[in-house]
């Protein structure tokens, strides 16, 4: 949950070059796990305006209407951190942002798609696509949104947490399946809390 600490406890550093911020929408997956009514992330290489453009790029690349801006905002400080260690990448990002034009983030989605298509083969686009997929779908916000439960080792596995709770298809006969391990019965699973 490091990302959320980051979202909720802004450390205003001297090196901060920009930030992204937003409100937590009541009833959203974010509201269930956020600690306050607002979120913000700091940037140490990119400006707020550049960050906002990249946020719009991330949303255009992987659009999920009901997924909070905060989830997309997590992508930007990661790219910003990459750029702070890699001048070549920072240059690629700045050139890419310049190519998109000053009003990119304000444009309609269809316009943003048209603009991005022109640069699809560029290192800027490919970096943004890769990092957006990697980070967007790895956050607790995305997990909550997609109903994905992640690792189960810390909770004793999925053995008693629904690995076989599908009921809309027939059960598999025992000869092609196998018994629950000793001490755990199917009935216990069915009577369980989930």
């Amino acid at each position: 949950m490091d990302e959320l600490v980051h979202l909720n406890r802004r450390k205003l550093l001297k090196t901060t070059t920009g930030f992204l911020a937003g409100l937590v929408i009541p009833g959203s997956p974010l509201a269930r796990i956020a600690r306050g009514p607002a979120w913000a992330v700091d940037l140490t290489s990119l400006t707020s305006s550049e960050g906002a453009t990249l946020l719009a790029v991330a949303r255009t690349l992987m659009p999920h209407d009901e997924l909070d801006d905060a989830a997309y905002a997590l992508v930007i400080p990661a790219i910003d951190a990459d750029a702070s260690k890699d001048e070549k990448l920072l240059k690629t990002l700045r050139e890419g942002i310049a190519n998109l034009g000053p009003d990119f983030a304000k444009n309609s989605e269809s316009t943003r798609i048209e603009v991005l298509k022109k640069f699809e083969s560029s290192p800027f686009f490919q970096t943004m696509r890769l990092r957006t997929v990697q980070i967007l779908y790895s956050s607790p916000l995305a997990y909550a949104y997609f109903g994905y439960e992640g690792e189960a080792f810390s909770k004793g596995g999925y053995l008693l947490r629904g690995f076989n709770d599908l009921r809309w298809l027939p059960e598999v006969p025992l000869e092609d399946s196998g018994p629950m391990p000793v001490g755990v019965t199917r009935e216990e699973i069915r009577d369980g809390e989930h």
Binding site: P63, E149, V172
Partner: protein, 416 residues
């Protein structure tokens, strides 16, 4: 598993050979291996219980009339065995098993071998050269230890088990004036005939949740297509194996390249997704091979492995057939959408120092003993003559057990 190639050698563009060993000869060792590993559905060991993802596979397979559908023969404990826990259905099995329910030599055979006092394990070391004497017998392994220092270990015999990429690489860069093509490579076959199994994801999306990530990742298989039936338009066969990917990995490697609403409309339905994977027999080709990269070097200044692979038309026909059958399975039980994922370049690496009856066709004999050097052995998936359509671990273990007996015998008789 049919080990012998019964298809003849007449498929153009391949370097197919027969195994120099029969299934009957290897059968005993398969049985020993299955007992040691605690393989499910063998020797009275129960199968793993069906997961949600498997229930979907099973229902679809049965609609198509498939008969051999079950939770697999897996080296994953369905009950406590050999001092290790039963599977608690954690998922993420490809990362290794945190509770040790899945067999791994790292926490079974190796600690036991250490306990005998006869194993001196040099951890964090990298072999960089195998040396030989005037007679042509190998006599030492040079390696870098954990601190990067060069060390030399004398040897009466050497077994190489770096698997199908690193084993040929080590043989190739151990070349000398006596063996200018690399060790055990008078045939020129070291690194050739690389096989990697035909792969491919097929995803089915349903009205209702599957939660495919819950439970043992590959605990399910359809084996009916594991036959050689040329009427299907290709030689060899394939298994359909249960699979899933975690959330960040799924859009990253499980889907065809894409972005925008069509791409995300797939990810939106992640929880309603079931998954299968092709494990098909690919055909060996002489030019599908591991060579030493002319440019890129590793941390020790040694050339990295360069891997070249071209699909054979047979590979493509097999993959297409498998994708169609898997799609039909999901459609038969009401899938709303089928997505054919990309085909990862490899799941298993095999055949690059293959065993052959004729020394010109391969690198080792039926014991994994190199044709050229009597005291040099290959003990990994490189020695497979053909890839087959099964996951190769059990065959690798069976061959290693058989080889170990042979080495003991040959040492006692002072042949090596």
């Amino acid at each position: 598993m049919a080990l012998q190639n019964r298809r003849g050698h007449d498929i153009a563009g391949t370097s197919l050979i027969d195994w120099p060993i029969t299934y009957k000869e290897l059968r005993t060792y398969y049985e020993i291996a299955e007992r040691r590993l605690g393989v499910t559905r063998r020797n009275g060991v129960p199968g793993l219980p069906a997961s949600n993802n498997f229930k979907v596979m099973y229902a679809g397979a049965k609609k198509l009339g498939y008969q051999q559908v079950h939770t697999g023969h897996l080296a994953i404990n369905s009950r406590a065995f050999d001092g290790r826990s039963f599977c608690i259905q954690q998922g993420f099995c490809v990362q290794g098993c945190k509770i040790g329910a899945k067999w791994s030599a790292l926490y079974t055979e190796i600690p036991r071998a250490e306990a005998t006092g006869n194993l001196d394990l040099r951890v964090e070391s990298t072999a960089i050269r195998i040396e030989h004497g005037d007679t042509g017998r190998v006599n030492a392994v040079v390696y870098r230890d954990g601190q990067g220092r060069e060390q030399r270990q004398k040897a009466r015999a050497v077994c190489v088990a770096g698997n199908a990429i690193e084993t040929p690489r080590l043989l190739l860069f151990s070349s000398s004036s006596k063996f200018p093509q690399g060790l055990a490579n008078s045939s020129g076959q070291v690194g050739r005939n690389y096989c990697h199994h035909i792969t491919g994801f097929v995803w089915g999306f349903f009205e209702q949740p599957v939660y495919s990530w819950r439970g043992a990742t590959i605990a399910g298989v359809v084996e009916d297509e594991l036959i050689n039936e040329p009427k299907r338009g290709f030689a060899g066969g394939y298994r359909m194996e249960l699979v899933t990917l975690d959330l960040p990995t799924f859009p990253l490697v499980g889907l065809p390249y894409g972005w925008g609403r069509d791409f995300t409309s797939i990810v939106e339905n992640y929880r309603n997704m079931a998954g299968m994977f092709i494990n098909g027999e690919d055909l060996p080709r002489s030019d599908n091979r591991i060579t030493l990269d002319p440019v890129v070097k590793d941390a020790f200044g040694l050339p990295v492995a360069h891997i070249h692979v071209d699909d054979h038309p047979n590979d493509q026909a097999l993959r297409k057939h498998a994708q169609a059958q898997m799609s039909r399975m999901y459609e038969a039980i009401g899938a709303k959408r089928i997505v054919l994922g990309p085909t990862p370049p490899a799941t298993h690496n095999m055949c690059t120092a293959r065993m052959s009856a004729n020394p010109r066709d391969g690198v080792t004999n039926a014991w994994g003993q190199t044709h050229d050097i009597k005291n040099l052995f290959i003990s990994d998936g490189s020695v497979l003559s053909t890839a087959g359509a099964a996951n190769p671990t059990l065959t690798i273990v069976a061959l290693a057990l058989r080889q170990a007996e042979y080495i003991v015998r040959e040492m006692k008789e002072h042949n090596i």
